[in-house]
């Protein structure tokens, strides 16, 4: 191998290393962006495990509509009004304002299919803006009826949060 070949090989290695660094950096930035914009999700089955366990329970807040809450809600969850409405956000703010910002909070709605729910994301953003660092959203794919009640998970009825 002459000097020219060695030089070409060296250049090739440098280019490949640079490409790797760029790719790793972009991946890290994507992960960082995702972690700051995408709310962490909890599956209903995982919530059930927590509710049945001796572990500390999150503060569970329903951000949907009152008629839904009265018909059926997750035992222990509190109603604050639709997150898409100014009243709902105001009530949410009032409810959590005195809590430590590390408080574990789980938001759920179930009014509509997940990607069309107007309520959980504004509520999540409000809590993040207030400085809460431990907020999760309950992933309800279709609606509360199909993804919670029909699966046989426990429900409470009426205006009181109730217990499991």
């Amino acid at each position: 191998m002459d000097l020219m070949d060695l030089s070409k090989a060296f250049k090739w290695i440098v280019v490949m290393l640079l490409a790797c660094f760029v790719s790793i950096d972009a991946g890290a930035r994507n992960l960082e962006e995702q972690s700051t914009t995408d709310p962490p999700l909890m599956q209903p089955a995982d919530l059930m495990r927590i509710l049945k366990s001796d572990r500390p329970k999150p503060l569970i807040i329903q951000t949907g509509f009152h008629v839904l809450y009265v018909q059926a809600h997750i035992p222990g969850s509190e109603y604050i009004g639709p997150g898409s409405k100014a009243d709902g956000i105001r009530q949410l703010h009032q409810r959590v304002d005195g809590l430590p910002r590390t408080q574990s909070i789980l938001l759920y709605c179930g009014c509509c299919p997940w990607n069309r729910c107007p309520n959980v994301n504004p509520a999540y953003q409000e809590l993040r803006t207030m400085g809460f660092t431990n907020v999760e959203l309950l992933y309800i794919a279709e609606n509360f009826g199909k993804d919670w009640v029909e699966k046989g998970y426990p429900v409470a009825r009426g205006d009181e949060p109730g217990t499991i």
Binding site: L68, P82, S84, C111, N119
Partner: protein
């Protein structure tokens, strides 16, 4: 022998079972009398003889909002054939519904619903939910989620053609 006996039993019961299933499949729509947005009582019973589309919805619900202009068109198209849409808003705030009603130029009555009514209709645990009620006041079908209007029209036609529909207009 056993097969013959079972067949005879099934034949004897057949018509009764069919009738029972038809009634179960199409139960009477629960009656209600609730205030509309003008504060006037609206009785479902007053619409007997009409095909009624009962729509549970809310102003902030995106799939519900998509449906409203289509329902307005549907009401115009079939009004003279004895078709009536009734909206049941599950909003917490009646003022928001009044504003929405005016903004979307809704042309059918809307009442403010409650949990009792929702439960009597089998539970409304997601929005929107729509019922088609035939001229005899029986629930023909229930649709959960945003509906395909072509499908609704397909279901509507035979109900409107039933001889017992009066097809007269209401004041709304």
């Amino acid at each position: 022998m056993l097969t013959v006996l079972i067949s005879a039993f099934a034949l004897a019961l057949g018509p009764h079972l069919t009738a029972l299933n038809a009634t179960e499949r199409h139960p009477l729509a629960p009656e209600f009398s609730l205030a509309d947005l003008r504060g006037q009582k609206l009785d479902l019973a007053a619409f007997r003889g009409h095909v009624v589309l009962l729509d549970f919805w809310a102003t902030w619900c995106a799939p519900c909002r998509n449906e409203i202009p289509r329902f307005v068109e549907l009401q115009n198209k079939y009004r003279d054939r004895g078709f009536q849409i009734i909206g049941v808003s599950l909003d917490d705030d009646a003022k928001a519904v009044r504003d929405f009603y005016a903004q979307f130029k809704m042309n059918y009555p809307v009442i403010i619903g409650n949990a009792d009514l929702a439960e009597r209709y089998g539970g409304i645990l997601g929005l929107p939910v729509m019922f088609l009620i035939d001229c005899d006041g029986r629930i023909d079908s229930r649709h959960d989620g945003e509906t395909d209007i072509a499908l609704i029209e397909k279901e509507l036609e035979p109900l409107l053609k039933a001889g017992r529909c009066v097809g007269k207009r209401h004041g709304h």
